[in-house]
Amino acid sequence: MHIMEGFLPTPWWQIWFAVYIPVILYGIHKLNRLVKEKREILPLLAVAGAFVFVLSSLKLPSVTGSSSHPTGTGVAAIIFGPAISAVLGTIVLLYQALFLAHGGITTMGANVFSMGIVGPLVAYLVYKAGMKAKLNFYAVIFLASALGNWATYVTTSMQLALAFPAGGVLTFGGFLSSFGKFAAVFAITQLPLAIMEGAVSALLFKYVVNVKSEILVEMKVIEDSVVRKLKGIST
């Protein structure tokens, strides 16, 4: 999903920065408040951040014969919300831009928008909707992280199509034609990887529920009754 350094012309890289900056400021503010009020969540925050680092480092081969990577931002989004996920996404993308030449400084706004904002937002909304519908907890985690991952890559395709519409001028038809080409590269490759990310995220949540369910209840991620059901305690 990285748009490489220099591959977004003016005015697109500035536009994505303009969208990104208010979100990241809100995210930093929210993160500061959370850490001040609830210091006990710090280890869990570290786990969520580490999970993004681990998953986005794993490049996996896909059915299309090209490689791409999961993002791992779904877990952070479900526990801490999309704004804080944007902060974690920024840290990971900054590391990759500076030390790996993956992504770039000018494309940072656009890349965080797809991986740190849209992906987590989709994961968060799917999670809330799924829990409201009282579906199985792990199935909801799976769906939320998988769709969040996939949404990230659809967003990247959209950003590139906006900057590079077919015919050189931004028309709706030109956008759609380019979007189809970029989506063929990103979105299809990403489908199996999104499924993998969903599966691994569900597993991580199982362990967190097992050892530290009270912190998830306190963060209002799940209700106590759901935890009891998951642990098989009948009351």
Partner: protein, 113 residues
């Protein structure tokens, strides 16, 4: 503790691995990164006229160094996840044991009264 979820995840991982072995042995796919493929699409659309507006400040000098810089945060991250989950697990076990001891002691007290 039920291992149902672990088995489902294992099945998904195995299907993914089989997919890879099948695709890589039946086609001569080179498994390049999608980021570079997108660059190809950009060249296609613009007819190769697009010049990047900037270059990366620093590039890893070789793919070996690149894999080191990928593996390093992943290794540290995996360590953090394992440490925190292990810490929580042991803490919970310890608390449960203390609670159990406390409970049996107070029951003993009530019997003696």
């Amino acid at each position: 503790m039920s291992r149902k979820l672990e088995l489902i995840v294992l099945a998904i991982v195995l299907i993914f691995a089989l997919q890879f072995f099948y695709t890589s042995s039946t086609t001569n796919a080179n498994y390049g990164g999608t980021d570079e493929k997108a660059e190809g699409v950009i060249n296609d659309i613009t007819g190769g006229t697009y010049k990047p507006i900037s270059e990366p400040i620093w590039k890893p000098p070789s793919t070996e160094i690149e894999s080191l810089l990928f593996a390093l945060p992943a290794a540290i991250g995996a360590g953090i996840i394992g440490y925190v989950l292990g810490y929580y697990r042991a803490k919970k076990k310890c608390e449960n044991e203390l609670a159990y001891k406390g409970k049996s002691k107070s029951e003993g007290d009530s019997q003696s009264l």
